[in-house]
Amino acid sequence: MTKTYGKIYSVDEISDRIKKIVENSGLDNIWVKGEISNFRHHDKRHMYFSLKDKNAVIDCAMFKSANKKLIFDPEEGMQVLIRGNVGIYKRRSNYQIIVEEMKPAGGRGELYIKFLQIKEKLEKKGFFNKDKNLPKFPKKIGVVTSGNGAAIEDITTTIERRFPVKILLYPSLVQGKNAKDNIARGIKYLDNTDVDVIIIARGGGSWEDLWPFNEEVVAKAIYNCKKPVISGVGHETDHTIADFVADKRAVTPSGAAEIAVPNKKELNSHLDNLRDSLIKLMKNNLLIKKERLNSLASRTIFKKPLTLIEKKEQQIDDIEKNLSNVLKSRLEKISNEIDKKEGKLNALSPFGVLERGYSITMRENRVIRSVSNLKEGDIITTTLKDGNVNSKVNKNGK
């Protein structure tokens, strides 16, 4: 039996055929409406996602050159209108739309555009520059939120757990058309009370639910508020205009409460650390002084107090020695002088005259200078150079 195969295609050929058929089908530069799903935007370059409706899904790619012109961030679940061409990616047997342009389509998408317009307008007005410092230890916290939602419960439990303080609640509508004015009024009211900081909060919800927090009247109230405002609206992924205007943005209501008050446990351990360093420093201080005192006490003067006296004694000895030397030489000098004077004196002394043969005559210890002072029988004493001789006067021969 002979089998006839007809023309045998390669994979590449058949893929090319399909590619040509699709590309010539008129499905280029077409508009498609659908919901974004499986959105990926890795490395902020090309976007890959699927566009789906109730019955079908089609892969889409929006390359960097096209997506950089977008004025909003496409998100999972967003209704959009896209313009592009259907193409084949033959390496993966895959057909997809290469997207050239994208617009939000109705509902959330349209609100999103409105959001962007308000955002741009308020940013230009400088509404996003409000940046008041939050008090570290607020005594009273104002809260604008629903009086019976999960938000106020989350806030109170968080504050109680972290650092219990007074809370002043302004119960407000947080969704529906009257909510925006109510929220704005609450902010203004609390601004004129003694609260230190104001939290505006709302639990998670749809875009439409959170919408009041995108309204200009709320933004204005936050911007004009003299007190710092913390926003805690929705969930992690939600961004509202209120978040941009507020002095501080938290991702959830309990997050806002966490920003508002410090953590008691942390403060307690901080205080414990302070106590430890206080004691340590004081001990150190005393130790330093003690060491200084010890080093002074170990100086010689305290260790061998006699040294100083001994030193002085030695000094005195030295001085004494010096003094006696000086005295000796002075004495010698003086005695030399005396000797010299003695010679001179001797020359003048009566004994010098006696030496030369003269004598002195005295009677009753009085020097006799004239014969007329003597009479016969007087006993006179004559002093010669080597002694005295007594004589009796025989004759007065004047």
Binding site: T156, L168, N268, M282
Partner: protein, 74 residues
């Protein structure tokens, strides 16, 4: 001079930190360092007590046709 008892937690804590800084920095005279230590110990006690005594209380604003009142929330 500010009365110690009326000081806010914040300023007490700040002063405590400052006191420790001074003890840390300066070669203080003995009397002064003892004084600073005493002051630090007093501030520390005050801060600890304030933390211990912190309580939550919630008041709710009641807005009845523009007539505003307060009531306890919990």
């Amino acid at each position: 001079m500010e009365n110690d008892d009326e000081k806010s937690f914040e300023s007490s804590l700040e002063e405590l930190e400052k006191t420790i800084q001074e003890l840390e920095d300066g070669d203080l005279p003995l009397k002064e360092s003892v004084d600073k230590f005493k002051k630090g110990a007093k501030l520390l006690k005050k801060c600890k007590e304030e933390l211990k005594n912190a309580e939550i209380s919630i008041e709710k604003i009641v807005d009845d046709d523009g007539k505003i009142d307060l009531e306890n929330f919990i």
